[in-house]
Amino acid sequence: MAFLVSRVTARPLIRPFGPPSPARGEGVRFGRRSYLDTSTKPSLPYRRRRQLFLILLGAPALIYVLAVAVWPLAQGVDNSFYDYSLLRPTKTAFIGLDNYRALWINEEARRSIVVSAIFTFSAVAVEFGLGLGLALLLWRDSLFQRVCLALLLIPVTVTPVVVGLVFRALLASDYGMLGYYISAWGLSHPRGWLGDPTTALPTLVAVDAWQWAPFMALILLAGLKSLPTDILEAAEADGATSFQRFRLIILPMLLPAIFLALVLRTMDAFRVFDIVFATTNGGPADATNVLMIYAVKQGLEFFNIGFAAAIANVMIICIAIFSFLFIALIRRADKRANEL
């Protein structure tokens, strides 16, 4: 900005008589070349040059992502059609869709899909409930609320692996600070919440909610703060109770933000890896074997590259379906909120 100002003030305020002269730095300029300056021919018209410039700026990122993300993805799609294992690389055979079919037939794989679906759905539901409550509590714009928000966002920044380890230690039934009381009061199996197949998944949902509910609250809070205050004040003046205001005004107008928060968390919860890996690593008895854990185990522990690629591709398809669905919902909610 300082640069702009200096350029403007450096010019004489009263122009001398006569036509604009390039020698005095006058005339319409685009870029460095003045249109009055005929000493050298302009190499390219301005629009072309601008276009080329933007392409040059954008190309590195596009090429990079194509090479380092899209190319491996394409290879993954290719691998998924082969019976390809690093343990016997010479016996690679094209098997068409058999890896995908195995995902339906294989008991373990089907269970993993179910576990992932349950985890994603319940984690997002719990986080949404908590997040909405927190957002409403944080809505008032005061220093107190802002400090609370800053503190609440600390869990988001903690290394996920550390989160897993902390809860593993806290919930250990024999020595953990929480686990000891839980088992002393007879609320858990001797192996603790994380060690028992029936409670392991709900516990992981709670851990995920601990880390991510504040993020949900933040997105919803941003939505709440962008609501037009005049409508809310008018409703209050007309005698609407706070529940009526919430149900009839806040909720419908907040829907775009709600769907946005849901889609973000759905995609992340579906891809959960670190906290599961650090706590149960898929166990006990495959009760927490979410798709990411299953794919990583198949690919990087058993080296079934083909099958692991098929799992990953199914995950991508699921995520694509979620996001298209939610984008459609956001569009519709946006339209309705604007009509309100």
């Binding site: 491996p72 993805l73 993954g76």
Partner: protein
Amino acid sequence: MSRAASQRALLVERSALIVVVAIFLAPVAWLISTAYKPARDIFSIPPSFLFTPTLANFRGVFHYFDLFSLLESSLVISLGTTALSLLIGVPAGYALARARTKWAIGIAYFFLAVRTVPAVATLLPFYMMMRDIGLLGTWWAVILLSTSLNASFVVWMMFSYFRSLPKELEEAALTDGCTLFGGFCRVALPLVKPGMVASALLCIMFSWNDFLYSSFLTRSGSKPISVALLTAYGTKDITWGTLGALAHFSTIPIVLLALVLNRYFVQGLTRGAH
């Protein structure tokens, strides 16, 4: 509402918030406090809340771990990723925001889509690529792969920042004889500084906290602190106190950054979402 009632509502709201904040911070407080507890106090039965602080656990960290090598790896990976992501991501975000073709928004969505791909999908083929060209086990492997995700994030985020910047400012600079590149560097860039700080902050956080990529793409000499933490867990010599002390070095830098630059952090989380 009467004044007394609204006062009471405020009080209820504040105390509810204090309780919630306390619950959300308790596990972090426990983690921090374990590092200063003597071994017998960490898991005493029944659990005790009082202890005499000690620094013995930090001595344990230096004894069992090559802390400087771990921190060096974490720093190189996260700063390398962040620098590379900003270097290619910011100009691309600008180009997409200023391009007049219909393609621009499509390409921006493409970058957003790349970010949502599960890590394992790219990790497996990338692992084999790195093995073939001999970069497996080096910092480069992690930096290259996580830059692809983080740069996509930066492109999307900066796209939204540049789009909300009126282009008349750059056009004014151009008529004043500024070059196209000058218009980008000296007019547009300084105006989106908050966006760049926010993107950098989130890139650092993502790559510092990353576990999956580093655990499969690095070796013992190049592994970052997040990987060391998990592999150390369950090793019989290493107590929870030592682990808690080590976790200090993994958690506190990011927590502090997020608190000090809270405005940018909040802005980044909400803007990056849209």
